[in-house]
Symmetry: C2
Subunit: 660 residues, 2 copies
């Protein structure tokens, strides 16, 4: 055998990166060939490994790289920019940017004011809290936030969830003060949770709400919200406080006598108007202002109509008196002990996660459209601080809203100054315009909410999930039906469970492939997928497509034995040359644990008993290291590791040939 | 460029396994080379995929392969063998096998009788239930079980857990009948659960109790059990019913006045004797009978001593009167409604899982020593049926015991007949020998239990876990301290949580490597690990070592962008040739979901904006299929997929050269 096969000289000497090439001149494959060592990764202490691991977990984006090799003074300035992005873009701000920002700011204000009032009602809160929440948080965000296009304020999903969760325990009608206290407390905990996630760099937690889960969740929530609006749209007075599909539908038809035809006519007319404007803006993105201006137009029009026919319009309920003035402080209303504290914390965490997910997703979407980057963890801190500040100034949970940010983007917003303009517009409203809302009918708010949430139902995305990934579709369906028929937190929990189960399933039942050779090459690929591949006589070449863990080591052992058994049967049936060597391609075995190592040992012994040679090809660094640490490299021996399948086949089959 | 690069001709035509080789004669690498197509896997319908998937999940070992191509008559016989393994080995049974089995059966009987009585006390049950449980279950198992060496009966862990969980709600002293009912009911549910797992082929559930978890759990349980035995060993009468470390130790020292010196002297003498015999047998496995015979010897000796000095031995409590006779039926004692049903089901499921884990692990261990295979799912059904039958005949949870099976194996057991011999010996004891136990002191049972469980503490295994895998050690430590200080079910739950978290962590933060070329080869390996590798100018070659899922798509995107940024900085600093192409080696990306696909799309757009070419190498079948289904293959274009990194580098760098 004209081949150097001293590939593994001394494992214990831990020769970093040693790779010896035995023959200098490359020769045609399978005749005689270079054989390369499989080596251990560079040695690291446990502390170095831990440090590397932790920095990959918590600082994958190396957030402080700008600070490297800078003077102290420069570092201070960069630190200020890092903490308060306003200093970064503020110094370059100019009049032309301001012109863009003022237009977009006023546009989103015209949308934010009616939506604020509507969403507050969705959370069972007084309408004015919705306006308060559109004033302070945008100001805070404009100082701390790093997205240029995020329009901050109350959003439908978080409002709905807060409304549902709190009103299950406390009635907003019977105990309005307690309910308000709990809402502010939940907002505080939402902010605290968000800021902590960002500060502790645990932002990846929100990644566990996969897109599939969110598609289902949003569609379910949109349907629930729309059904809830039937109360306002039909003019029903006594309505269920439950959120599930069945009680809501029952309630709608049980109270048929309360239906008010004036309300219905007005509601459906404006709904039609709003949906038409939405349709126009969707068809022609340039006409974004049509749908952006529609809510305010509807509010003004409907208020005028009700004002004119007020003597005849008994059936139409209106918002009524709203107090003038700025946000009152509410730090004294936070509720840190007592029986409802757990409820407030739970509500805070769930609305916190949901609003964070929406805010970060929206921020990233528009950042990628304009090719700048948004740092997820920093954004979380900004949104968290904004909510904590909000909870002390009579605001409830806010985040970046998808619909308003899209309008903001289309209206040409350039910086977070558009949020300041929005806040100023809300300030003027709060100080001077509140009496104008006296005659605004509640039915118009219902129509605005329905129009806003209907965009959350994303059929094409669900259809694509079905086409591309059935298990993703299952997660989507679970969250949809869970939210619709069970409850919001449970629906979400089930969907996250399905998503995690999917990951575990892939690990528990990994693919194993039989490889064959593409003639005249060193390429080995799946026999089943590549028709040009050919079986290599006397070899069974398997590729394992997953880490080997406790959860799959038994399965893999059984599966490999079954491949061997099937190969033996096939050889018997086809009178082929007998099986001598089993090669396992470990390229995709990206990790191993102690159960996996035991499995490999066990497998080696079994193969030895059947007098087959077992060869491992291209184990990755961490696997090699663990095999070394558990001292089983020696039991595998010198000839059990190769760098490529080609070299393994060449060298082993050469060793079978009679010596010249 | 003398290279055929029409690798991806028409994705939508879905040409199965098409792989065209452009140049017929292999040429030296990097000059001009063959380029191979990346192709889609063979087309399958959703139904075929589902079928394949389900068969891999539930029938990975293809359990019915023996039935293929057989006559009906043969199939019937095979079916009988499949359901009742006794028919399989029974037909070949002979006298020489029987001689081995009778010796091993009597040996384990001498161990099983004192252990049975002891373990029943551990479960707070009357001692005789332990003997009943060593009679019926071994008989059932010998008909249904497929292991040749499993010795069936009560085991310490399951007894402990049942005792703990039930006595937290019902006192075995104050309500003995209710307690007994609950124990039988829990046994029934344990059996039902075990049999269902086997029948539904969900056996992989027990794989989630990883070896690391079990090492910690067993050590924790062994310490708890030993501490509990201080009651018997010190002769304390009033003892806590709690199981955690702190209350037990408090109880031991609070009742110092109850300590009885006679009991202590006798207890520690026999404990020393038992531990010495155990030590001898461990040093010399041939002397296994020394430790196997020691418990019965201790029982006989201590009974004789107490009998002789009975007038003076007031401090030594004895077993007392035991009823003669066979197992009474207990089907009428099963408890299927009422407030404790949930407790019984919960206890049943947890003891069921634990006893199943022990039974299957023991069965597999000895099967691999003798090179035969045990079908996990079939064993589960056997153990489940055995427990259901047991619950109707006054038995509590039983399984294959590790210590007794080891003795059985060493004593030369050949078939399950040794279990029949064991049952016969217990039968004789139950019918005739019960009065002999009247003077057996309880302290001897405590000593037997301590000796048995001390073997469960596996320091070397824990040390190895620490050396090889820190996260496995963490799971081990969690289950150890959880069991010791919190509670058995919670400790187990935490440990399983840690194990699953470990899998998720690997998926959430996968490795990405920068690859370089080994000169004069087509091998590309980690630059960091293989020193001989060299950077390829103008290329950045990355390998992703994990599936791309929702849980890591954001991370991977950030991480890849950081690699690109660092590469740009490095090039700037070293005045190297500029970066033109980014190659991602997808070999280890064994799956992708919709979030991952979106990430790849996004990445392609970003790279395009920076005018880098993005190339994917060797995507596996399922990834390729999903890229096709989501219709993004077209957006990647013809030149974005290669089968090997070598071909990608060769072809792309050739295309940059000016045309001749």
């Amino acid at each position: 055998m004209g081949v150097n096969s001293h590939r593994v000289e001394d494992f214990s000497s831990h020769n970093n990166g040693s790779l010896k090439i035995s023959t200098e001149i490359p020769m045609p494959p399978t005749e005689a060939m270079e054989i390369h060592h499989v080596c251990l990764p560079p040695k690291k202490t446990t502390f170095q490994k831990l440090k590397h691991r932790l920095s990959e977990i918590f600082f994958p984006d190396d957030p402080l790289y700008r600070f490297k090799n800078q003077t102290w003074c420069k570092k201070l300035v960069l630190g200020l920019h890092f903490l308060f992005p306003i200093f970064q873009w503020g110094s370059e701000y100019n009049l032309s940017l301001f012109r863009s920002d003022i237009i977009s700011g006023l546009t989103i204000a015209s949308l934010a004011i009616p939506q604020g009032i509507s969403y507050a009602k969705l959370a069972n809160l007084p309408p004015i809290v919705g306006l308060y929440s559109s004033f302070v948080p945008p100001l805070v965000y404009s100082v701390l936030g790093s997205s240029k296009h995020l329009a901050v304020g109350p959003v439908s999903i978080a409002s709905l969830v807060m409304g549902t969760m709190l009103s299950e325990s406390v009635s907003p009608v019977e105990e309005p003060i307690l309910y308000l206290k709990l809402a502010f407390t939940a907002t505080f905990f939402a902010g605290l949770f968000q800021a902590s996630l960002g500060f502790l760099r645990l932002g990846f937690v929100i990644d566990f709400l996969s897109k599939a889960t969110l598609v289902g969740f949003m569609a379910g929530a949109a349907i629930i919200v729309s059904l809830q609006q039937l109360k306002g749209l039909l003019g029903i007075v006594h309505f269920t406080t439950k959120m599930q599909f069945i009680p809501v539908m029952t309630s709608v038809f049980e109270h048929r006598k309360e239906w008010s035809w004036q309300t219905i006519v007005m509601g459906f007319s404006f709904l039609l108007f709003l949906l038409t404007t939405r349709h126009i803006s969707m068809k022609k993105p340039k006409l974004f202002w049509v749908s952006a201006a529609a809510p305010l137009t509807s509010v003004i029009l409907s208020t005028l109509i009700v004002f004119c026919i007020k003597s005849k319009a008994h059936g139409i309920s209106t918002i009524g008196h709203l107090q003038k003035g700025l946000n009152p402080p509410s730090a004294n209303m936070l509720y840190f002990n007592g029986q409802y504290l757990a409820l407030a914390i739970k509500t805070g965490i769930i609305t916190g996660i949901l609003s964070l997910t929406e805010g970060i997703a929206v921020g990233r979407t528009f950042a990628s459209l304009k090719n700048y980057q948004v740092d997820g963890n920093k954004e979380m801190m900004a949104i968290g601080v904004m909510n904590m500040a909000g909870s002390c100034t009579s605001c409830y949970v806010t985040t970046g809203s998808f619909s308003r940010s899209a309008v903001n983007y289309n209206a040409g917003a350039q910086t977070a100054v558009s949020n300041i303009v929005l806040a100023t517009a809300v300030l003027v409203t709060l100080l001077f315009l509140m009496p104008l809302f006296y005659y605004t009918p509640n039915v118009i708010l219902a129509a605005i909410i329905i129009t806003a949430v209907i965009g959350l139902i994303d059929y094409p995305a669900a259809l694509k999930l079905w086409k591309v990934d059935k298990l993703d579709f299952l997660a989507c369906a679970c969250s949809f039906f869970g939210v619709l028929f069970i409850s919001v937190p449970l629906g979400l929990a089930i969907a996250v469970g399905v998503s995690v189960f999917k990951i575990l399933l892939h690990v528990t039942r990994p693919n194993t492939l039989v490889l064959g050779n593409i003639p005249r090459t060193q390429i080995y690929q799946s026999l089943n997928r590549y028709r040009e591949t050919e079986r290599v006589p006397s070899f069974l070449i398997l590729a394992i497509e997953s880490p080997i863990y406790f959860a799959n080591s038994t399965y893999l052992q059984e599966r490999i034995l079954r491949w061997v058994r099937e190969e033996e049967e096939w050889i018997k049936a086809n009178h082929e040359s007998i099986l001598k060597c089993i090669i396992i391609d470990m390229t995709a075995v990206t990790a191993i644990d102690t159960s996996g190592i035991d499995m490999l040992c066990e497998m080696r012994k079994m193969m030895e008993k059947r007098s087959y040679q077992l060869v491992l090809v291209n184990p990755v660094g961490s696997v090699m290291e663990k095999l070394h640490q558990s001292k089983i490299l020696e039991s595998f021996g010198m000839n059990a590791f190769y760098l490529t399948v080609g070299e393994a086949v060449g060298d082993i089959s050469a060793s079978w040939k009679p010596q010249p």
